[in-house]
């Protein structure tokens, strides 16, 4: 936002006009300007270069789940700010801002619904909420999503997007890695499929736990997926990183995921995977 629009938007008696800012979308990849409406109607994929833009939970639910089939699951309550953390800013204040800027109270939200009539519980991580970072709330939402899936005897699908663990919750954020993994083990014991869709970007402790433990691993084209951040790697090895390093296609080449699926094909693909993995369970 330019300084001018910041000032203008802050003045309450001047009506907010449809400006370049909210009419146009500039593609982060090809830098082309597209009508925002056209971009959104195209599932937030750039019509020029096919770059998959980042999308939040609500849009994802709308895109993936059958119309009218779904409802958002209430977020479980957790301790807020367990360490009373403060850096240049208080964590509690950062949270307030993040909550005000987002639809949901933390970075992982579940919905229960259907995909082409297959019942599912689906979790979506919101990169816009403090970089999608995993803290107590994300861990609790993950466990809650899995528990609902076990109750419903249906798959749990997670769309990951995160910079990693939420540092402001210190060791407790790290402990969400084993916590989510316990839930995955319970899913496994219940004989139900756990499906991961990796979206841009998924890195750090999230990748090194529930994002890599799916029975089926899907990624969106071009998504950045890795354990260590690229700057950290570059600082360690002092070499140039290879072309396409840590992108979805690179992971596919290296045997880390099953498929890279275009957003427009994702619903059909998920329905197919669910159909196969759930067929034995229905018959039982």
């Amino acid at each position: 936002m330019s300084w001018f629009s910041k000032v203008r938007n802050a003045i309450p008696f001047i009506a907010k006009r449809e400006t370049e800012d909210n009419l146009w979308h500039k593609c982060k990849n090809c830098q082309e300007m597209v009508f925002l409406k056209e971009f959104e109607e195209n599932q937030s994929i750039c019509p020029m270069c096919d770059h998959h833009g980042r999308i939040g939970a609500t849009v994802r639910f709308v895109q993936m789940l059958d119309e009218g089939s779904w409802e958002v699951l209430e977020a479980p309550e957790v301790q807020s700010d367990p360490l009373k953390f403060k850096d240049s800013k208080k964590y509690a204040d950062r949270m307030k801002t993040a909550m005000a800027d987002n639809d949901y109270p933390d970075a992982l939200t579940n919905a229960s619904g259907t995909i082409q009539d297959h019942p599912v519980v689906m979790g979506v991580q919101e990169f816009g909420f403090m970089g999608g970072s995993m803290g107590l709330a994300v861990g609790a939402a993950f466990v809650n999503g899995v528990n609902h899936a076990i109750d419903k005897k249906c798959p749990y699908i997670i769309f990951t997007a995160a910079g990693g663990a939420r540092m402001q919750e210190g060791i407790l954020s790290l402990m969400q890695m084993p916590k989510a993994t316990v839930a995955i083990n319970q899913m496994r014991a219940a004989g139900l499929p756990y499906i991961v869709v990796l979206t841009d970007p998924t890195t750090g402790g999230v990748t090194a736990s529930y994002a890599m433990l799916g029975d089926i691993q899907i990624a969106e084209p071009g998504a950045l997926i890795g354990f260590a951040g690229q700057r950290v790697i570059q600082d360690t090895i002092r070499e140039k990183l290879p072309e396409g390093f840590q992108r979805a296609e690179y992971l596919l080449d290296h045997g880390m995921i099953d498929m890279v699926v275009h957003r427009k094909d994702l619903r059909d693909k998920l329905a197919s995977v669910i159909d196969y993995t759930m067929s034995g369970i229905k018959a039982a």
Binding site: M167, M175, M177, T181, V182, A208, M212, G255
Partner: protein, 315 residues
């Protein structure tokens, strides 16, 4: 010779004076035995008081001390026998993560841990204790072996973190860590994890998702290094000390948060000043927890481990 840390400067100066005096006394030039004794007492007191109130950042430095005991020192002092096992059966043998059959006080266990190395040469060989995917996959293999043959698993965690490099990424560092954590959480045998030096993020969790987690008094365990946290949140690594405090990385903090079960005492001045004494305390603690767990059935063990992580940080 102990190498002194930055904050130990007053102790270092005192010790230097003592050794100078000692030399003079040895030459028989002057009778300064009383002075010497007084200074030695003073040095001991100073060491004790310094280590009594270490800041989280100072503890981080102690935990990283190059002379701190490492995997092979623990093997020597704690276990009467060690049968090393190697390889992930897929790619290679990572020297940063070692393991094998071992006997502790007559009991057979599987021991797995990070080795940082003690000399320049061995540090390079062991990649400074930073595991690669093949290291975590070796750990998975050894844990599964222990599970099948009913051997308790003891881990010794000491890593600044898993290795951040191109080859680690292309071989699936994230998957290897995730799978190792999952294997910890699937074991039907007792598991005791010991945070002995640095518990650095995912690379530590992968070997520490146990029902009993012990931690040395001056060890640290955190989601990211204080420098890393500072450079992201404060935008300068110089604020590492503040970051270490804010993140609550010490054994006392983690005990309060319920993340660890027992704090293992270190000798005055830290484990690096007396490997043997440090190891006696750790051995006692490991045996105590193995004893307590030995009465539990397979499903009770699994249940206890699951419950521990599910309830962590709950309201």
């Amino acid at each position: 010779m102990t190498s002194y840390l930055e904050f130990e400067k007053p102790i270092a100066e005192l010790d230097e004076r003592i050794s100078e005096l000692q030399e003079t006394a040895d030459n028989g030039e002057l009778d300064i035995a009383a002075d010497l004794k007084r200074l030695q007492k003073k040095s001991e007191r100073l060491l004790k008081s310094t280590y009594k109130s270490l800041t989280p950042w100072q503890k981080t430095q102690v935990a990283r001390h190059p002379q701190r005991p490492h995997f092979q020192n623990y093997i020597t002092h704690i276990f009467e026998e060690f049968e090393p096992l190697a390889g992930d059966r897929a790619f290679g043998d990572d020297q940063a993560i070692m393991g094998g059959f071992a006997k502790i006080d007559g009991r057979r266990v599987m021991v797995i841990g990070h080795e940082k190395g003690n000399t320049t040469e061995s540090r390079i060989k062991h990649n400074f204790g930073m595991g690669k995917p093949e290291g975590y996959r070796k750990a998975i293999r050894l844990m599964e072996l222990a599970d099948r043959f009913h051997l308790p698993v003891v881990t010794l965690v000491d890593t600044s973190g898993a290795f951040p490099g191109i080859e680690a990424e292309e071989r699936g560092q994230a998957e290897a860590i995730a799978r190792s954590t999952q294997t910890c959480l699937s074991l039907h045998v007792p598991m005791v994890a010991c945070i002995v030096g640095e518990g650095g993020s995912g690379g530590a969790v992968a070997l520490a998702s146990a029902e009993r987690v012990l931690m040395y008094e001056h060890a640290v365990y955190s989601v990211i290094s204080p420098e890393g946290c500072a450079s992201i949140l404060w935008r300068t690594a110089d604020k590492a000390s503040e970051a270490a405090t804010a993140m609550k990385v010490t054994a006392a903090d983690l005990k309060k948060l319920g993340v660890i079960d027992e704090i293992v005492p270190e000798p005055v001045g830290g484990a690096h000043r007396d490997h043997e004494q440090a190891c006696v305390a750790l051995k006692t603690a490991i045996l105590k927890h193995l004893d307590e767990l030995s009465g539990l059935s397979d499903s009770e063990l699994l249940q206890a481990r699951h419950q521990k992580f599910l309830s962590l940080g709950e309201l």
